[in-house]
């Protein structure tokens, strides 16, 4: 790639940051050029972000209608999934799945709750509930 072809597409997923791209300048000499974004990359990142947003919204509704415990929402809201939450807490996946049941979650020991608080970055009060509404 030539330095003049380095895309400058002001991608929203770059959040005004610049990425250093290696490209050929004068006489083919390679150097870095700051890129403000590339549409191609933005499409891929946005598709992934949309997928995450869908999971959070679905989880929010399931918790709101008491089908799942607040933990289920907070997991997705922290951009995790069952696998990552299990790896982070050290709990088995099936244990966590049980904790997704509102009645099981309600009886969880403070020790276990604090473990979730730690990896999800929440306080004890926050993890027991979900926000009134989501604005994202």
């Amino acid at each position: 790639m030539d330095i003049n072809s380095v895309p400058q597409d002001d991608s929203t997923t770059y959040a005004s940051m610049k990425k250093a791209i290696y490209a050929a300048g004068k006489n083919g000499k390679m150097q870095t050029v700051g890129s403000s974004g590339w549409d191609v990359e933005e499409i891929a990142t946005k598709a992934a972000l949309d997928e995450i947003e869908n999971s959070i919204q679905n989880a929010y509704e399931e918790v709101k209608f008491k089908k799942k415990s607040p933990l289920y929402y907070h997991m997705y809201d922290a951009r995790m999934d069952l696998l990552v939450l299990a790896q982070s807490t050290g709990f088995f996946q099936w244990t966590i799945k049980r904790h997704f049941k509102p009645e099981v979650f309600a009886k969880l020991s403070e020790k276990k709750l604090l473990e979730y608080c730690d990896v999800l970055g929440k306080t004890l009060d926050e993890i027991k509930t979900i926000p009134e509404d989501r604005d994202e």
Partner: protein
């Protein structure tokens, strides 16, 4: 305070090592660090999942740049991990008080200076901490164009994030760095090594074989749900570009390394040619990403065969670069 100077790099691990060594008087570029640590690769590991997607990587394992640079350049370095947050914080403060600049491994998700758009649970990010002001740390994050600040709480959470590739508070810093190193023999050795390993990987999931394996898997997306297929394809592009690779999954950076290597050997023509070829292969990787982006956007059916064929072509053309590199005979 030390007079550390931030520099914008393409990639976190190679960027940290380049900045760190330059600070200690050894002027070595990011592409040179990348080339000398044998970091270029390709891997497609379908049975290891990240966010529900298979592991796809355009470079070697995390931490291998640090470790290979230490080994190949014979730099005395210390790597420390910690069993508690408190111990990790105290040690960092102590090192900074001594005027050292310190490399650290961290999660991306918990670093508050990262924009929300790219905060994912990736535990093998690297950054340099060069000073502290009260509860704020002055950080040179190579993938940012300016130096940044991070508060103690956030930095600590990022350094001690749990899960896969957990950083365990890893800190690293050199103890002694030679001011001058004869890079020639190391360059020659690593060019040979990487070419051989890319061409003749014993396992089908890495090197050029890994690319062909991924190409075949793309064909199989035909029978999968379209939504999944699009996320899968998008995932390839993200691994190639989003994480900060200098473009085209490190291929542009490697082309730059080959160019520097050519200059080192009195403008060696074979290496110059290999650099040019690698740059062209990089352009093809960008075309490949463009094809994918178009198919993600499009409402029509996806031409998996075309995308798969493109990747097959790339693996063929990339093999020519490594064959060219093998023609290089160093006179050292």
């Amino acid at each position: 305070m030390n007079n550390f100077e931030h520099k914008h790099h393409a990639h976190c691990e190679s960027g940290v090592m380049s900045s760190m060594l330059r600070h200690h008087g050894l002027n070595i570029s990011e592409p040179m660090v990348f080339g000398l640590s044998n970091a270029l690769n390709f891997a497609y590991i379908p049975f290891v999942k990240i966010g529900g997607m298979p592991l796809i990587a355009y470079r070697s394992m995390p931490k291998s740049i640090i470790k290979n640079i230490r080994k190949n350049l014979k730099i005395k370095m210390k790597l420390e991990t910690f069993s508690s947050k408190k111990a990790g914080q105290d040690r960092l403060d102590q090192l900074l008080d001594e005027g050292k600049i310190v490399g650290a491994q961290s999660s991306v998700y918990w670093l508050d200076y990262f924009p929300k758009e790219i905060r994912f649970h990736f535990n093998a990010h690297n950054l340099l901490i060069y000073a502290r002001e009260g509860d704020e740390y002055l950080i040179s994050d190579p993938v940012f164009d300016k130096s940044v600040r991070c508060n103690k709480e956030s930095l600590s959470k990022a350094r001690f994030a749990k899960g896969v590739m957990a950083p365990k508070g890893l800190l690293y810093y050199p103890i002694s760095v030679p001011k001058k190193i004869d890079l020639k023999p190391i360059v020659a050795k690593n060019i040979k090594k990487i070419s051989k390993s890319m061409l003749k990987t014993p396992v089908p999931i890495a090197g050029l074989r890994g690319m062909r394996y991924l190409a075949k898997s793309i064909l199989k997306l035909e029978s999968k749900e379209k939504k999944y297929a699009k996320l899968f394809l998008g995932h390839i592009v993200r691994m190639q570009e989003e994480i900060g690779t200098g473009g085209a999954g490190f291929r542009f950076m490697y082309a730059s390394f080959l160019q520097e290597a050519s200059e080192l050997f009195d403008h060696d023509e074979i290496l110059a040619e290999a650099s040019k070829l690698m740059l062209e292969v990089g352009d093809e990787w960008r075309d490949f990403a463009l094809m994918i982006a178009k198919s993600i956007r499009s409402k029509e059916s996806i031409d998996y065969k075309a995308i798969s064929d493109k990747l097959m072509d790339i693996s063929e053309n990339e093999s020519k670069v490594y064959k060219k590199m093998l023609e290089f005979k160093a006179d050292v």
